[in-house]
């Protein structure tokens, strides 16, 4: 039972984010390697493909493949964007990467820019973690001063200008095309796809968007080889992954482990279910991922394929742990409220449907449920799923569908008895702030 740290390796104390510490940890050696050994952009992409790196932002799309979509011969400007908007409830890994190891992202982006021929990049940072944005600006200044960024990087012809851009805290700005709109200074609303960002991105130019953690993984792939990275995880699920474990555990926090690590190990790393209670359910990949009951979850390993087979998604790697004191109706009410508030309002099914879902769940939770409500919830989610401009519609629907599917009896109990299956005192006890054993 142990973590396996790449991105988080050697991070101790306050100064670890600085350039000199990063370099001391071996930072920027991947960039130098590419430059010194004159590795071609094609070979960089091939290496990333080989590594089995999949996007850490939620969809798990193979990164090397995504990079290969960028039109190589495109004559004008091409852009690179890093998605540090991290608004998904339960997810808090990107802010720690940026807080403690910002140069890993800068290096990863610079390598990506080299591989895809991008002359400019933006790191879009969630607006409610302003200190992280400010620190990233400082890190950029350091990298520019040291010749790792800007024109003539490491004395070559290769140039890449990278900028920090902060949002204002809207969850939807994490959706990649809303993020592009927001960078352009417009209201953050997703674009209809096609065209995809690789052909029509920032200011209509070819653009690649990856998650913070995705970029932070790149230097390790270049340094140790794609093969090595792949073997850290399992086939099709290469590398390590940072899991943000939250909820009813002894030591909530970020844990970087090899993909394929059994869930039980991750849970143990996080201190186990707090207070020795029984595990009830886990949302394994951020609030948008379907919830899984304890027994199914305990059989899973933490990787894209295993979680997907179990009927959920690894998503952003936010593991929300719920113990037996949790009222699943209340939990869903909170989630549904989030999507209701965060829908951008552009397309009809999501704008109208998220409010409908929330109101029905809210009614059930408050003792005003009706027998037909569960069918209604299923039917409304079916009318949202797959019919919206972006995946937020699906994200709002999946929790509802999975909660009703796995914990339907709790909902029925609520509707019938106008009260909760989980006794109030148990819930109260469970909701107390828990101070776990110190690590």
């Amino acid at each position: 039972m142990s973590t396996h740290e790449l991105i988080f390796a050697g991070l101790d104390g306050d100064r670890t984010w600085r350039l000199e510490d990063y370099v001391a940890r071996g930072g920027y050696s991947a960039l130098k390697k590419i430059i010194n050994e004159k590795i071609s952009p094609e070979d960089v992409i091939a290496e990333v493909k080989k590594s089995g790196l999949r996007g850490r932002g939620g969809a798990g799309f193979p990164t090397g493949l995504k990079w290969s979509f960028m039109p190589r011969a495109f004559p004008g400007a091409k852009y690179l964007a890093c998605n540090s908007d991290e608004g998904e409830p339960g997810t808090f890994k990107d802010r720690d990467i940026l807080r403690y190891n910002p140069h890993s992202v800068i290096e990863g982006m610079t390598i990506a820019a080299y591989a895809m021929g991008c002359e400019r990049g933006y790191n879009y940072i969630h607006g409610e973690i302003f200190d992280v944005y400010q620190r990233f600006e400082e890190a950029l200044a350091e990298a520019r001063a040291a010749g790792f960024l800007g024109q003539n990087i490491l004395g070559t012809d290769f140039g890449f200008e990278l900028f920090a851009h902060h949002g204002y805290g809207a969850y939807i700005c994490g959706e990649e095309t809303a993020l592009l709109e927001s960078i352009e200074g417009k209201k953050g609303q997703p674009r209809f796809k096609p065209p995809f960002p690789a052909s029509y991105g920032i200011y209509g130019k070819p653009t690649t968007i990856n998650n913070t953690e995705t970029f932070a993984s790149v230097p390790f792939i270049i340094n140790d080889g794609g093969e090595h990275f792949l073997n850290l995880g399992k086939p099709n699920n290469g590398g390590t992954k940072i899991f943000s474990v939250s909820g009813h555990v002894g030591r909530p926090g970020n844990y970087e482990v090899r993909l394929g690590t059994p869930f039980s190990e991750l849970l143990a790393l996080a201190g186990g279910v707090r207070g020795g209670r029984r595990l009830k359910a886990v949302i394994p990949g951020g609030s948008s991922a379907p919830v899984l009951p304890a027994d199914i979850m305990m059989d899973c390993t933490m990787d894209y394929d295993s979680i997907s087979k179990a009927g959920s998604m690894l998503g952003s790697g936010a593991v929300i742990v719920m113990d037996e004191s949790t009222c699943m109706v209340k939990a869903l009410e909170r989630l549904s409220y989030f999507y209701f508030e965060e829908s951008c309002g552009q397309c009809t099914p999501c704008r109208e449907g998220t409010g409908w879902l929330y109101r029905v769940v809210h009614r059930i939770e408050h003792g005003k449920g009706r027998p037909e409500d569960l069918d209604l919830l299923n039917s409304v989610t079916a009318n949202i799923m797959g019919r919206t401009i972006c995946a937020l519609g699906d994200a709002a629907s999946m929790p509802v569908q999975s909660f009703v599917k796995h914990f339907g009896s709790e909902f029925e109990y609520h509707i019938e008895h106008k009260q909760c299956l989980v006794p109030a005192d148990v819930q109260n006890e469970g909701s107390k702030i828990y101070v776990g054993p110190t690590c």
Binding site: F192, S343, Q346, T348, P349, C350, T354, R359, N383, R387
Partner: protein
């Protein structure tokens, strides 16, 4: 070409087509709200979901590109299920107030809900309420009904050129609104009413006055600017209730300017003249038509008899119908006078001798789309010609580069690449500079007649830039706007514009001021040999004037001079739809003739298109169609050829009964020595006069809702900071403006969109009529 199968039908579509395009082509109707053929694709309503082979989920037809071999079902079970799902979402928060909604009967949501909605709602929660917004005097809101399709938003941004509406807030809280404390002030704003698929945006003037099914729909043609927008006039109980666009891709597309749309309100104005009136012994009295026409006929006859035919003249509005203009000129010529003119706001007639044919746009309107260079000279393009400007705006998005020479630089909401912002008096030299630079750029000599003049001018940087830009184009036009037409050196400006067009093998055009500016030329509503033009007729007052559809203080180049001339005349016969207060002083007879909705008529628009229309309602009171009044007058005067039974017969005679009659008479080119006369003389600043769009003709001046818009605000004395400093006045200060003709007081406004040394003072307004000529020198003095 791509092949696609839609609902079992195999068709070929152009590359880049969407499934919606293909469905339209195949004749399959796909329900939709946000999609509109003239707007960008938003794909937000999701009503157009269709089933596509191999696609795991339904796809929006409006946004899905056709791929070769695609198979689509628009009405399969899966498609209809998806469409019904969306319809349910649209209805859950929509108020059930159709019975009191103005959109009732013409609501896309209502129509589609019949086919795709359920009779009872599964939504048992509280419905959303959205506060209404004040968008100004033309568009009423009921925002709770809004389905957030963003058509209105996209219209303001893409067609009108300025994003005056936006979608604020997120999710269910999303609301369409103008910017804080702002209204929608576009001159095209009314189109959002047509675009709104529900009753969220409706017409404020029309509100609650009729249901769509109670009204008949009649075709007509807009009598305002020279575009000739096609209209549907909706009529109930013999009253015009509303005006909508009649789609005509070649002219107005599916749009109308607010002027076209809302001016109908003037038809019911209290100021309508409903009975013939004559003044005898200084007293006005209402009389019957027989008495009035005999009075007029006798007056004209005795004037001709006593002072000769040269002592009478006709001043005819270019907004009048072809039939009226034809009969009026025929009547004058029948009396033996060639004193006929319709170019009432113009000042320079030196081109008349050389001009043949009617000045026109020089090209079909629709061909604006294929231009890649446009030089505009002297125009308030956006306000003078709202829909023509809209076409230029769209063309500019596809690469048309626009340049401008003139004394004004207000925002046209389209990119003007090069601009020579010069006083009216310097326009000729500036344009000559363009000719000079262009001749060098394209290595073609300047035409002999103007070579000397051109050789003597210096090329300004702006002129050079304009010339370089024109030279780099391949399909150019040079347009003279209303300001150029009203310029004291109009013919010389035109001469240079023609030269520029020649040097780049482009086209030259005169945009034209009014609905029938071209028609008036074609039927000879201009002086013939030996006749006097309007300026001449007013400089040396005549004994008798026949004035058709024009008002002395608003519709002429010099309000003071016109008024004086009319007051001195022995007989002024005013034919018009309205009782003008000023005419009570100067006229001797006022004859109520029908506005465009109450008579048959014809307009020839700026591209030379002949458009006839019928009256849509009965004339008000004792109003008569103008052509009938002139016919009877002709008969009473004993003139030949005034026996017409129908307006069509007048039109046939006027246009020689030949379809090519008009096209053969388009031209209007001049050949004049360039003016050596300065445009403005004396010490002071040059006046630049715009004709504000809601004062330009008698109808709009009396349309109450248009009069409440920002565009109808009282004129200001606009000048740039340097001019203001030179005259010692500050922004907001009351100033006295003095011309040779008189004095008026206005508020000063510092406005960098006015050329140095100029003061922009609108014409066609009571508050500025006292200044006299639209051009020339005025002094400014702070009060």
């Amino acid at each position: 070409m791509l092949e696609i199968e839609i609902d079992g039908k195999v068709i070929q579509v152009n590359d880049g087509s969407t499934v919606m395009d293909a469905a339209t082509q195949a004749g399959s109707y796909v329900p939709h709200f946000c999609y509109h053929k003239k707007l960008s694709i938003a794909a937000n309503c999701r009503m157009c979901l269709v089933q596509v082979e191999k696609a795991p989920k339904p796809l929006p037809a409006c946004a899905t590109p056709v791929t070769n071999g695609m198979k689509v079902w628009t009405h399969s079970e899966a498609a209809v299920k998806a469409q019904k799902g969306v319809m349910e979402f649209l209805l859950i928060n929509h108020p059930l107030d159709c019975p009191i909604c103005d959109q009732g009967g013409e609501c896309q949501l209502q129509d589609l809900a019949v086919g795709y909605g359920d009779s009872s709602s599964r939504y048992q929660e509280e419905k959303r309420v959205v506060l209404n917004k004040n968008l100004g005097s033309l568009v009423a809101t009921d925002m709770t009904r809004c389905i957030n399709c963003t058509r209105c938003v996209r219209f303001t941004q893409e067609i009108a050129g300025e994003m005056e509406l936006g979608q604020a807030f997120r999710g269910e809280h999303a609301e369409i609104m103008p910017f804080v404390e702002k209204t929608v002030d576009s001159e095209l704003s009314g189109n959002i009413i047509d675009l709104c698929p529900v009753g969220a945006l409706t017409s404020k003037p029309f509100r609650f006055s009729a249901r769509t099914w109670e009204m008949s729909r009649r075709k007509s043609v807009s009598p305002h600017d020279s575009l000739g927008s096609n209209l549907i006039v909706q009529v109930k109980h013999d009253t015009v209730k509303r005006v909508l666009p009649l789609e005509n891709e070649a002219i107005n597309e599916c749009w109308l300017s607010d002027k076209d749309r809302f001016a109908y309100e003037a038809l019911g104005s209290d100021e309508r003249l409903t009975k013939p009136m004559i003044r005898q012994g200084g007293e006005w009295q209402e009389v019957d038509w027989q008495t009035a026409l005999e009075f007029v006929a006798n007056g004209l006859k005795s004037t001709v008899r006593e002072q000769g035919a040269q002592s009478v003249g006709a001043l005819l509005s270019p907004h009048a119908t072809l039939e009226e203009l034809h009969l009026a000129q025929k009547l004058m010529r029948g009396l033996g006078s060639e004193n006929i003119d319709s170019r009432l706001r113009q000042a320079d007639f030196s081109g008349d001798a050389s001009r043949s044919g009617a000045p026109w746009l020089g090209m079909p309107i629709a061909e604006v789309a294929s231009l890649n260079r446009l030089l505009v000279v002297g125009s308030f393009l956006r306000k003078d010609h709202p829909l023509l400007a809209q076409r230029v705006r769209q063309a500019a998005k596809r690469g048309l580069r626009v340049s401008y020479v003139g004394p004004n630089a207000e925002d046209w909401l389209l990119p003007v690449r090069n601009r020579a912002l010069v006083a009216p008096g310097k326009m000729l030299a500036e344009l000559a500079g363009v000719v000079k630079a262009l001749s060098l750029a394209v290595s073609k000599p300047v035409s002999g007649a103007i070579a000397d003049y051109v050789a003597a001018v210096a090329i300004s940087p702006a002129a050079q830039a304009i010339a370089d830009d024109l030279a780099a184009g391949s399909s150019a036009a040079v347009w003279l706007g209303n300001l150029a037409a009203q310029h004291p050196q109009a013919a010389s400006l035109q001469q240079l514009a023609q030269e520029i067009a020649r040097l780049v093998d482009g086209r030259v055009g005169i945009i034209g001021e009014a609905a029938n500016s071209v028609g008036a030329h074609v039927v000879g509503a201009v002086p013939g040999a030996g006749g006097r033009n309007v300026a001449d007729m007013l400089d040396k007052p005549l004994a008798a004037y026949l004035v058709l559809g024009a008002e002395a203080e608003f519709d002429f180049a010099d309000a003071v001079k016109t008024r004086t001339a009319f007051e001195q005349a022995g007989l002024v016969v005013s034919l018009g739809a309205f009782r003008s207060v000023a005419a009570l002083d100067y006229a001797d007879a006022m004859l109520p003739i029908a506005p465009f909705t109450e008579t048959a008529g014809t307009f020839v628009n700026c591209e030379g298109r002949v458009q006839s229309f019928y009256g849509v309602v009965k004339p008000l009171g004792e109003t008569r169609p103008g052509w009938k009044v002139l016919r009877v007058l002709g008969n009473l005067l004993g003139l030949d050829g005034f026996d017409f039974a129908k307006a069509d017969e007048v039109c046939v005679e006027a246009l020689g009964g030949s379809p090519e009659f008009v096209s053969e008479r388009l031209g209007g080119l001049v050949d004049v020595p360039l003016s050596s006369q300065p445009a403005a003389e004396g010490k002071g600043f040059e006046r630049v006069a715009d004709i504000p769009l809601y004062f330009a003709d008698p109808l709009v001046r009396r349309a109450p809702s248009l009069q409440k818009t920002k565009d109808a605000a009282a004129p200001l004395a606009r000048m740039n900071a340097a001019t203001a400093a030179a005259s010692g006045v500050a922004d907001g200060q009351l100033v006295r403006l003095r011309s040779a003709a008189g004095v008026v007081s206005l508020t000063a406004r510092v406005d960098e969109a006015v050329a140095d040394g100029c003061v922009r003072v609108a014409g066609a307004h009571q508050s500025t009529a006292g200044l006299g000529p639209l051009s020339g020198v005025i002094s400014v003095e702070g009060l």
